[in-house]
Amino acid sequence: MTLTKRIIPCLDVKNGRVVKGLNFESIKDAGDPVELATKYSNEGADELVFLDITASDEQRATIKDLVRKVASVIDIPFTVGGGVKSLDDARNILLNGADKVGINTGAIKNPKVITELMELFGRQCVVIAIDAKKNYDVKENVTVFYENGKKFWFEVFIYGGKEGTGLDAVIWSKKAEQMGAGEILLTSIDKDGTKDGYDITLTKAIVDTLSIPVIASGGCGKPDDMVEIFEKSNVDAALAASIFHYETHGVIGVKTFLKDKKIPVRL
């Protein structure tokens, strides 16, 4: 055997509850974070990702306690992201029981924080989250793709998918790796919430550019979507939320399905 593909339930947390949105908008409640974390951990999830999408900084202060509570009930790796701007934010999360810290907007605004974190805590703690969206307005110095006769590139978005940066996702991912990222959490904004499958073009482009692990995210609606992304790209992990939260498929069901399709999983 060898290294398995990781199946990662994601908990988007807002004001202390797990929520799920469509295309980063229209949010609905999906349960209690500690309960869901316990359940996924016991069912054989390979890792948990916990994204704090609470809007304001005051409300975010409570996230520390929640991280601690979740960390005390699980015995699998645990990544926490959302609103991490500084070294202090990251330290706070790691000292409260997270194994890795995810940074998105904070890393775009201040890329040096990637290197600082790496030097202090080690590369394995540093997950750079990239939210990317197709942009059909092709400009110079971007990585151009063709699909259905149309040219486009992938633009990095920040502030939870609200604001374009003009940055090319492929170029940014390479820079993040060079600065000290240990892993990339790659979300397709176009696909997120659609249950239409992962963005294969995006995932493949980033995976083939980097030598650090990549987690595919956005668009998973059924186990077959995971099979597809693992067969068509060399991605290391697949993240999903709604298929696990609403009991459409349990973690065990998904992993059994993948194993039958010859995808190496821990089961």
Partner: protein, 201 residues
Amino acid sequence: MVNVAIFDYGAGNIFSLKNSLERVGATVDVITDFDKPNEYSGILLPGVGNFDPAMNSIRDFSKTQFLDYVGNTPVLGICLGMEMFFEKSQEGQEKGLGVINGEVIILPNSMKVPHMGWNDLEIKKPGKILEGVDDGSWVYFVHSYRVKPTSDDIITAESNYGIKVPAVVEHENFFGTQFHPEKSSTVGKIMIKNFLDVCKR
């Protein structure tokens, strides 16, 4: 009740390790130097940080040398903690603890580095940490370096990541795992418990 100490290099999450020890019945102190007498049944060197800063924190902040402090107390080194048992590492310039002959080398760049995720164990020989652990068990790795002991005799289990990665080493009262037992679900829990059993003896 078994009382153990985690040495904190000041570099990240030791909460999970502390938690995993407490779950199997240990009481845990976190220490940052070796200047008080050693009253512990076991000592843990956790797996988060960088080689040089971690070695410095072990070597430079105490009047007592680590190995004098430890004596015959069982020590579990996890990931970086295990790497520090060796003489030197390509991750840094500092000397290691040198309790095991050999060095720590970087994973080849033909592989994805870090080696991150669940890999299965190939058990080479019986060992105290591996009691009750099945061959082929899944454990969680996250590392960019691997150990290269002078003698393979101390390796009780390895993992195949395209290349062979020594996964568990045992030498006298020093036990090391390249993976993170505290993050390796029920299999990891067995190993943590095994270590505490060694501590009780």
